[in-house]
Amino acid sequence: MTDTVLSDPTNPDGRAPTDSLGNAITVPDSDDVTVVTAADGSRWELVCGLEVHAELATATKMFSGAPNHFGDDPNTNVDPVTLGLPGTLPVVNQKAVELAVRFGCAVGGPQSVRRSVFSRKNYFYPDMPKNFQISQYDQPIVVAGELELPSGHVVGIERAHLEEDTGKSTHVGGAGRITGADHSLVDYNRAGVPLLEIVSRPHVRSTEQARQYVAELRSILVACGISDGKMEEGSMRVDANVSVRREGSQELRTRCEIKNLNSLRSLGRAIEHEATRQADLHAAGQKVVQETRHWDEAQGVTGTMRSKEEADDYRYFPEPDLVPVDPSPEWIAEIAAALPMLPAARRARLAEATGEPRTAESVVVVVDRAQDDQAISALAHLARLAEVGGDPSAASTLAALADDDVDGLSGPDAGARAAAAPDAAKARVLVHVTQNLAGEGGADLAPVRLAELVALEVAGELTATQAKQVLAELVADPEATAAGVAAAKGFEAMDTGALEAAVDAAIAGNPAEWEQYRTGDPKVRGKLTGFFVGQIMKATKGQADGKAATALLTQKATD
């Protein structure tokens, strides 16, 4: 937790509101602001900042060579340093520093990485072997940054600093909860695991933004190899700093920190509940006490964690056993140069390639699943096919084109080429990647094979239903080709005459429905379109093109 001074109209302290690094606190407007209604009907808007603790993907601990590994037998990933044995000393893990620098470069660029100093945060708790935590206090390694959410809202990053994790207590008796337990058992395997604490500015204005922020942060951490981001294993833990203000005002009021938010679901619920609690207090003229509160998922409420006399006095001072960490500009530049493309940039690239908006759900989902390269490369192949006017039904056309060693069919330049693919191809590729390649193995399908399938589809040689079936075969059998599977399944495009015969048969077999279709309003007609296409598909064993059949139905109704 980092200390922030807030101005509260009900509790003015006379100081300008600044954050832990002395920067002015700003709260951005947004078209998505969560507003809660207090008991008296007054309306209050949310002001929220998030603190995310991410366990770093190192082999060893922050300050010793004991393994950083989840799920092992208790107290086996410990060495004298981990247990805080008398006489032991910490030494900083270079990889942990590198990952922190990577994060800084990702969200704030090289200039956001600074000379940093470790401090001791002193408090007694049995899961902390030394009864102090080595953390970074007034000189964190990352001092600025920002994160663009899929919605387009931008959340500022105040700081990110390195620290060590604590051990874990298990409570025996009292149903495993801390209150009412008979005694507790402590495992120090997690103690000393490197953590990056990432503190956002109070720029989160809605519960949806809070969820998006955490999801986006997780994507960045995973994409950059900084953390495995597994919330369920506790490698990503979220605390929320929540305050409210009168709707439309610019005031900053006292905030509370909510801990124990273990899922995106509890995050939104807890923030909304806490905002309402505070709104009720303000509306009733009562004071919100700055404190740490604990989210009780089962009860759906937040509760105070400590009495006031146990007020925080962490007695921070510079860790005398460690020296400052001051990454050289050369090292920072090297790390920045090796960064992968980040989710926001990838969404922009995919949006450009497909012509969809950056905020489109398909774009967000595909990037989230890291299948944007697959989609873009498939489109690049399709663009190439259109360029040379190849025959899509020749099984090896695309593979042969790819063998031409043409630039931009995959990799960084593929996006520009992909944008030139036919619009029909763009739509089909997005549908396949979003829906039909979401399952196991889907992401591994080579883009060129996907492109071959879509080429057949766009050329009218496969219906959407057939394409879906072929795609499943392609995923299951790495040797299969789209044209080969289609032929083997007997999928041949129906000629217009055969289709028309099938449509006529459906009409003749269902005269009452046809009458309703012919005379009904668009709503009725829409409903019955589904019915007739279903009949036609059944009769043709799915070989009919749904779109073409619909067009024929419409034509016959108006004849």
Binding site: G65, V92, N93, Q94, H171, I178, V323
Partner: protein, 100 residues
């Protein structure tokens, strides 16, 4: 800054430091700490606004260790000195309250 440590301060500090002092010890420590702090007033009185602090006598920077796994203690050795252990873990009495 002139500071005079009071017995209330001493009692509060004892709580922070997880020590229990009886009233006589509180009085004794209050007097002794006051005397030591009084001796330190010469330092408090210096105007050092422009002086940088020295936290390390020998200035070093970027002392980092490679991320390589080293030796660990077997569980039995880790617990060898534990006042109480159970199921491979350190056993403690009831914990009141979550970690801060």
């Amino acid at each position: 800054m002139s500071t005079r440590i009071t017995s209330d301060d001493v009692a509060h500090v004892a709580q922070l430091a997880r020590l229990e002092l009886d009233p006589a010890q509180v009085e004794l420590f209050t007097g002794q700490l006051a005397a030591i702090l009084e001796h330190a007033e010469d330092v408090e009185a210096l105007d050092l606004a422009d002086v940088a602090p020295t936290s390390h006598p020998y200035p070093l920077v970027n002392v980092l260790r490679p991320d390589e796994v080293g030796a660990t203690l077997p569980n039995a050795e880790a617990l060898a000195a534990a006042p109480q252990a159970e199921g491979g873990r350190f056993r403690v009495p009831t914990i009141l309250g979550e970690a801060p």
